[in-house]
Symmetry: C2
Subunit: 132 residues, 2 copies
DNA sequence: ATGCTCCCTGTAGCAACTACAGGGTCAAGA
DNA sequence: TCTTGACCCTGTAGTTGCTACAGGGAGCAT
Protein backbone atom coordinates (compact mmCIF):
# COMPACT_ATOMS: atom_id res chain seq x y z
CA UNK A 1 0.00 0.00 0.00
CA UNK A 2 1.28 3.42 -0.91
CA UNK A 3 0.23 7.04 -0.57
CA UNK A 4 -0.96 9.17 -3.46
CA UNK A 5 2.39 10.92 -3.57
CA UNK A 6 4.27 7.62 -3.81
CA UNK A 7 1.90 6.44 -6.54
CA UNK A 8 2.50 9.67 -8.37
CA UNK A 9 6.24 9.23 -8.22
CA UNK A 10 6.01 5.61 -9.34
CA UNK A 11 3.95 6.52 -12.41
CA UNK A 12 5.31 9.97 -13.10
CA UNK A 13 1.93 11.50 -12.46
CA UNK A 14 1.04 14.59 -10.48
CA UNK A 15 -1.06 14.10 -7.39
CA UNK A 16 -3.74 16.41 -8.75
CA UNK A 17 -3.92 14.34 -11.91
CA UNK A 18 -4.50 11.15 -9.95
CA UNK A 19 -7.32 12.80 -8.01
CA UNK A 20 -8.68 14.06 -11.30
CA UNK A 21 -8.69 10.55 -12.77
CA UNK A 22 -10.59 9.38 -9.71
CA UNK A 23 -13.10 12.20 -10.04
CA UNK A 24 -13.88 11.36 -13.66
CA UNK A 25 -14.19 7.65 -12.88
CA UNK A 26 -11.04 6.39 -14.55
CA UNK A 27 -9.61 5.18 -11.25
CA UNK A 28 -11.77 3.63 -8.54
CA UNK A 29 -11.89 5.47 -5.22
CA UNK A 30 -9.17 3.79 -3.18
CA UNK A 31 -9.22 2.78 0.46
CA UNK A 32 -8.50 5.43 3.05
CA UNK A 33 -6.39 5.46 6.18
CA UNK A 34 -7.73 6.57 9.55
CA UNK A 35 -6.46 10.02 8.74
CA UNK A 36 -8.47 10.00 5.49
CA UNK A 37 -5.44 9.57 3.25
CA UNK A 38 -5.84 7.56 0.04
CA UNK A 39 -3.86 4.30 -0.10
CA UNK A 40 -3.22 2.41 -3.29
CA UNK A 41 -2.47 -1.26 -3.89
CA UNK A 42 -0.56 -2.87 -6.75
CA UNK A 43 -3.66 -3.17 -8.88
CA UNK A 44 -4.18 0.58 -8.75
CA UNK A 45 -0.53 1.02 -9.69
CA UNK A 46 -0.97 -1.28 -12.68
CA UNK A 47 -4.12 0.50 -13.78
CA UNK A 48 -2.60 3.95 -13.53
CA UNK A 49 0.50 2.76 -15.39
CA UNK A 50 -1.75 1.50 -18.16
CA UNK A 51 -3.55 4.84 -18.32
CA UNK A 52 -0.31 6.80 -18.41
CA UNK A 53 1.24 4.65 -21.07
CA UNK A 54 -1.87 4.95 -23.22
CA UNK A 55 -1.89 8.71 -22.73
CA UNK A 56 1.77 8.88 -23.68
CA UNK A 57 0.85 7.11 -26.89
CA UNK A 58 -1.67 9.85 -27.53
CA UNK A 59 -4.91 8.05 -26.77
CA UNK A 60 -7.65 10.35 -25.50
CA UNK A 61 -9.14 9.74 -22.08
CA UNK A 62 -12.27 8.43 -23.78
CA UNK A 63 -10.20 5.95 -25.73
CA UNK A 64 -8.38 4.95 -22.56
CA UNK A 65 -11.72 4.45 -20.87
CA UNK A 66 -12.79 2.16 -23.71
CA UNK A 67 -9.55 0.18 -23.57
CA UNK A 68 -9.86 -0.18 -19.81
CA UNK A 69 -13.43 -1.40 -19.98
CA UNK A 70 -12.39 -3.95 -22.59
CA UNK A 71 -9.68 -5.27 -20.33
CA UNK A 72 -12.07 -5.25 -17.38
CA UNK A 73 -14.36 -7.59 -19.23
CA UNK A 74 -12.46 -10.85 -19.09
CA UNK A 75 -13.39 -11.46 -22.72
CA UNK A 76 -10.49 -9.84 -24.46
CA UNK A 77 -12.19 -8.33 -27.44
CA UNK A 78 -9.08 -7.96 -29.50
CA UNK A 79 -10.92 -6.74 -32.60
CA UNK A 80 -12.32 -3.72 -30.82
CA UNK A 81 -8.97 -2.94 -29.27
CA UNK A 82 -7.40 -3.21 -32.70
CA UNK A 83 -9.98 -0.85 -34.16
CA UNK A 84 -9.39 1.76 -31.46
CA UNK A 85 -5.65 1.55 -32.01
CA UNK A 86 -6.00 1.74 -35.79
CA UNK A 87 -8.39 4.69 -35.60
CA UNK A 88 -5.92 6.47 -33.39
CA UNK A 89 -3.11 5.64 -35.79
CA UNK A 90 -5.11 7.07 -38.69
CA UNK A 91 -5.65 10.28 -36.78
CA UNK A 92 -1.96 10.57 -36.11
CA UNK A 93 -1.21 10.04 -39.78
CA UNK A 94 -3.61 12.88 -40.57
CA UNK A 95 -1.96 15.15 -38.04
CA UNK A 96 1.48 14.40 -39.41
CA UNK A 97 0.34 15.16 -42.95
CA UNK A 98 -1.29 18.41 -41.82
CA UNK A 99 1.82 19.51 -39.96
CA UNK A 100 4.08 18.71 -42.88
CA UNK A 101 1.91 20.79 -45.20
CA UNK A 102 2.01 23.56 -42.63
CA UNK A 103 5.76 23.38 -42.32
CA UNK A 104 6.04 23.76 -46.06
CA UNK A 105 3.84 26.84 -46.12
CA UNK A 106 5.63 28.37 -43.19
CA UNK A 107 9.07 27.72 -44.58
CA UNK A 108 8.15 29.31 -47.89
CA UNK A 109 6.91 32.32 -45.99
CA UNK A 110 9.99 32.60 -43.82
CA UNK A 111 12.40 32.11 -46.74
CA UNK A 112 10.85 35.04 -48.57
CA UNK A 113 11.58 37.28 -45.58
CA UNK A 114 15.29 36.67 -45.63
CA UNK A 115 16.52 38.43 -42.53
CA UNK A 116 14.69 41.57 -41.64
CA UNK A 117 15.93 44.49 -43.65
CA UNK A 118 13.23 44.74 -46.25
CA UNK A 119 10.92 47.70 -45.90
CA UNK A 120 7.66 45.85 -46.43
CA UNK A 121 7.71 42.68 -44.37
CA UNK A 122 7.07 39.70 -46.59
CA UNK A 123 5.74 37.58 -43.78
CA UNK A 124 3.11 40.13 -42.93
CA UNK A 125 2.32 40.43 -46.60
CA UNK A 126 1.98 36.68 -46.87
CA UNK A 127 -0.47 36.70 -44.00
CA UNK A 128 -2.47 39.63 -45.31
CA UNK A 129 -5.56 39.05 -47.38
CA UNK A 130 -4.83 41.49 -50.19
CA UNK A 131 -1.65 42.02 -52.16
CA UNK A 132 -0.26 45.43 -51.30
CA UNK B 1 -20.71 47.31 -44.53
CA UNK B 2 -21.78 43.78 -43.71
CA UNK B 3 -23.45 41.85 -40.94
CA UNK B 4 -21.63 39.45 -38.65
CA UNK B 5 -23.10 36.52 -40.55
CA UNK B 6 -21.84 37.88 -43.87
CA UNK B 7 -18.39 38.49 -42.35
CA UNK B 8 -18.41 34.96 -41.04
CA UNK B 9 -19.21 33.56 -44.45
CA UNK B 10 -16.56 35.71 -46.11
CA UNK B 11 -13.85 34.51 -43.74
CA UNK B 12 -15.13 31.01 -43.01
CA UNK B 13 -15.56 31.87 -39.36
CA UNK B 14 -18.44 31.05 -37.05
CA UNK B 15 -20.41 33.99 -35.73
CA UNK B 16 -19.66 32.94 -32.15
CA UNK B 17 -15.98 32.92 -32.93
CA UNK B 18 -16.11 36.48 -34.24
CA UNK B 19 -17.87 37.64 -31.09
CA UNK B 20 -15.28 35.71 -29.09
CA UNK B 21 -12.44 37.51 -30.88
CA UNK B 22 -14.12 40.79 -30.07
CA UNK B 23 -14.53 39.81 -26.42
CA UNK B 24 -10.84 38.99 -26.03
CA UNK B 25 -9.80 42.18 -27.79
CA UNK B 26 -8.50 40.74 -31.03
CA UNK B 27 -11.13 42.56 -33.05
CA UNK B 28 -12.29 46.08 -32.19
CA UNK B 29 -15.95 46.48 -31.28
CA UNK B 30 -17.59 47.40 -34.57
CA UNK B 31 -20.26 49.97 -35.25
CA UNK B 32 -23.86 49.05 -34.58
CA UNK B 33 -27.05 49.58 -36.53
CA UNK B 34 -30.17 51.13 -34.99
CA UNK B 35 -31.31 47.62 -34.17
CA UNK B 36 -28.01 46.97 -32.33
CA UNK B 37 -26.58 44.71 -35.02
CA UNK B 38 -22.83 44.72 -35.54
CA UNK B 39 -21.68 46.05 -38.92
CA UNK B 40 -18.23 45.49 -40.33
CA UNK B 41 -16.23 47.46 -42.87
CA UNK B 42 -13.48 46.26 -45.21
CA UNK B 43 -10.78 46.89 -42.64
CA UNK B 44 -12.45 44.52 -40.22
CA UNK B 45 -12.68 41.96 -43.00
CA UNK B 46 -8.97 42.32 -43.71
CA UNK B 47 -8.10 42.02 -40.03
CA UNK B 48 -10.21 38.94 -39.51
CA UNK B 49 -8.80 37.36 -42.67
CA UNK B 50 -5.31 37.95 -41.30
CA UNK B 51 -6.27 36.34 -38.02
CA UNK B 52 -7.84 33.34 -39.68
CA UNK B 53 -4.95 32.79 -42.02
CA UNK B 54 -2.51 32.97 -39.12
CA UNK B 55 -4.62 30.53 -37.12
CA UNK B 56 -4.75 28.18 -40.11
CA UNK B 57 -0.97 28.26 -40.11
CA UNK B 58 -1.09 27.17 -36.49
CA UNK B 59 -0.14 30.41 -34.75
CA UNK B 60 -1.63 30.73 -31.27
CA UNK B 61 -3.94 33.61 -30.51
CA UNK B 62 -1.15 35.19 -28.47
CA UNK B 63 1.18 34.97 -31.45
CA UNK B 64 -1.53 36.43 -33.66
CA UNK B 65 -1.97 39.25 -31.19
CA UNK B 66 1.76 39.96 -31.37
CA UNK B 67 1.77 39.88 -35.17
CA UNK B 68 -1.22 42.21 -35.28
CA UNK B 69 0.33 44.70 -32.91
CA UNK B 70 3.48 44.69 -35.03
CA UNK B 71 1.47 45.48 -38.13
CA UNK B 72 -0.50 48.12 -36.25
CA UNK B 73 2.71 49.95 -35.45
CA UNK B 74 3.61 51.41 -38.82
CA UNK B 75 7.23 50.45 -38.13
CA UNK B 76 7.30 47.05 -39.69
CA UNK B 77 9.55 45.24 -37.29
CA UNK B 78 10.47 42.44 -39.61
CA UNK B 79 12.97 40.87 -37.27
CA UNK B 80 10.42 40.28 -34.56
CA UNK B 81 7.97 38.92 -37.06
CA UNK B 82 10.64 36.61 -38.36
CA UNK B 83 11.43 35.38 -34.87
CA UNK B 84 7.80 34.63 -34.11
CA UNK B 85 7.51 32.69 -37.34
CA UNK B 86 10.73 30.79 -36.77
CA UNK B 87 9.79 29.91 -33.20
CA UNK B 88 6.51 28.60 -34.45
CA UNK B 89 8.27 26.63 -37.15
CA UNK B 90 10.56 25.03 -34.56
CA UNK B 91 7.58 24.01 -32.50
CA UNK B 92 5.98 22.40 -35.51
CA UNK B 93 9.17 20.49 -36.25
CA UNK B 94 9.10 19.21 -32.69
CA UNK B 95 5.49 18.13 -33.01
CA UNK B 96 6.18 16.33 -36.26
CA UNK B 97 9.10 14.45 -34.71
CA UNK B 98 7.00 13.50 -31.68
CA UNK B 99 4.17 12.24 -33.83
CA UNK B 100 6.48 10.21 -36.04
CA UNK B 101 8.00 8.53 -32.99
CA UNK B 102 4.50 7.86 -31.74
CA UNK B 103 3.41 6.42 -35.07
CA UNK B 104 6.33 4.03 -34.95
CA UNK B 105 5.45 2.80 -31.46
CA UNK B 106 1.80 2.44 -32.34
CA UNK B 107 2.46 0.60 -35.55
CA UNK B 108 4.75 -1.89 -33.81
CA UNK B 109 2.02 -2.47 -31.28
CA UNK B 110 -0.69 -2.92 -33.89
CA UNK B 111 1.43 -5.19 -36.07
CA UNK B 112 1.95 -7.57 -33.18
CA UNK B 113 -1.81 -7.94 -32.80
CA UNK B 114 -2.33 -9.23 -36.29
CA UNK B 115 -6.09 -9.43 -36.59
CA UNK B 116 -7.92 -10.34 -33.45
CA UNK B 117 -7.91 -14.05 -32.91
CA UNK B 118 -5.20 -14.36 -30.32
CA UNK B 119 -6.35 -15.26 -26.87
CA UNK B 120 -4.24 -12.74 -24.97
CA UNK B 121 -4.50 -9.40 -26.76
CA UNK B 122 -1.04 -8.17 -27.62
CA UNK B 123 -2.10 -4.56 -27.72
CA UNK B 124 -3.41 -4.74 -24.20
CA UNK B 125 -0.26 -6.54 -23.17
CA UNK B 126 1.85 -3.88 -24.79
CA UNK B 127 0.00 -1.24 -22.81
CA UNK B 128 0.16 -3.14 -19.54
CA UNK B 129 2.94 -2.46 -17.08
CA UNK B 130 3.94 -6.02 -16.32
CA UNK B 131 4.57 -8.94 -18.63
CA UNK B 132 1.83 -11.51 -18.07
C1' DA C 1 5.91 22.75 20.73
C1' DT C 2 7.40 23.72 16.37
C1' DG C 3 8.37 23.10 11.93
C1' DC C 4 8.07 20.54 7.80
C1' DT C 5 6.18 17.69 4.36
C1' DC C 6 2.58 15.48 2.99
C1' DC C 7 -2.45 15.02 2.47
C1' DC C 8 -7.56 16.69 2.19
C1' DT C 9 -11.69 19.26 -0.33
C1' DG C 10 -13.37 22.50 -3.43
C1' DT C 11 -13.03 25.78 -6.85
C1' DA C 12 -11.12 28.39 -10.64
C1' DG C 13 -7.99 28.78 -14.46
C1' DC C 14 -5.73 27.56 -19.16
C1' DA C 15 -6.74 27.45 -25.05
C1' DA C 16 -9.81 28.34 -28.37
C1' DC C 17 -13.63 27.94 -29.18
C1' DT C 18 -18.76 25.91 -29.27
C1' DA C 19 -23.44 25.53 -27.77
C1' DC C 20 -27.14 26.69 -25.77
C1' DA C 21 -31.21 29.70 -23.50
C1' DG C 22 -34.11 33.26 -23.92
C1' DG C 23 -34.97 36.89 -26.16
C1' DG C 24 -35.08 41.05 -30.18
C1' DT C 25 -34.98 42.60 -35.47
C1' DC C 26 -36.08 42.62 -40.12
C1' DA C 27 -37.62 41.43 -44.72
C1' DA C 28 -40.86 38.84 -47.45
C1' DG C 29 -45.04 36.44 -48.47
C1' DA C 30 -50.39 35.46 -47.70
C1' DT D 1 -51.61 43.50 -41.50
C1' DC D 2 -50.02 39.55 -39.72
C1' DT D 3 -46.96 36.00 -39.46
C1' DT D 4 -43.15 33.17 -40.51
C1' DG D 5 -38.42 32.44 -40.72
C1' DA D 6 -33.78 33.77 -40.83
C1' DC D 7 -30.89 36.34 -38.69
C1' DC D 8 -29.05 38.95 -34.65
C1' DC D 9 -28.38 40.10 -29.41
C1' DT D 10 -26.40 38.98 -24.42
C1' DG D 11 -24.84 35.91 -21.10
C1' DT D 12 -23.47 31.65 -19.42
C1' DA D 13 -21.81 26.99 -19.43
C1' DG D 14 -19.61 23.20 -21.75
C1' DT D 15 -15.49 20.92 -24.12
C1' DT D 16 -10.26 18.35 -23.08
C1' DG D 17 -6.88 17.22 -19.79
C1' DC D 18 -5.17 18.73 -16.68
C1' DT D 19 -2.94 22.50 -13.23
C1' DA D 20 -3.00 25.77 -9.47
C1' DC D 21 -4.46 27.69 -5.76
C1' DA D 22 -6.88 28.54 -0.92
C1' DG D 23 -7.58 27.07 3.41
C1' DG D 24 -7.28 23.61 6.17
C1' DG D 25 -5.74 18.61 8.66
C1' DA D 26 -2.21 14.56 9.49
C1' DG D 27 2.04 12.74 10.70
C1' DC D 28 6.79 12.73 11.80
C1' DA D 29 11.30 14.68 13.43
C1' DT D 30 13.67 17.76 16.57
Amino acid sequence: MRSIGALGKATNTKVETIRYYERIGLLAPPQRTDGNYRTYDDEALARLSFIRRSRDLGFSLDQVRALLSLTDQGTQDCKTVDRIARDHMAEIERKIADLIALRHELSTMIESCGGGNISGCRIIEALSPFDN
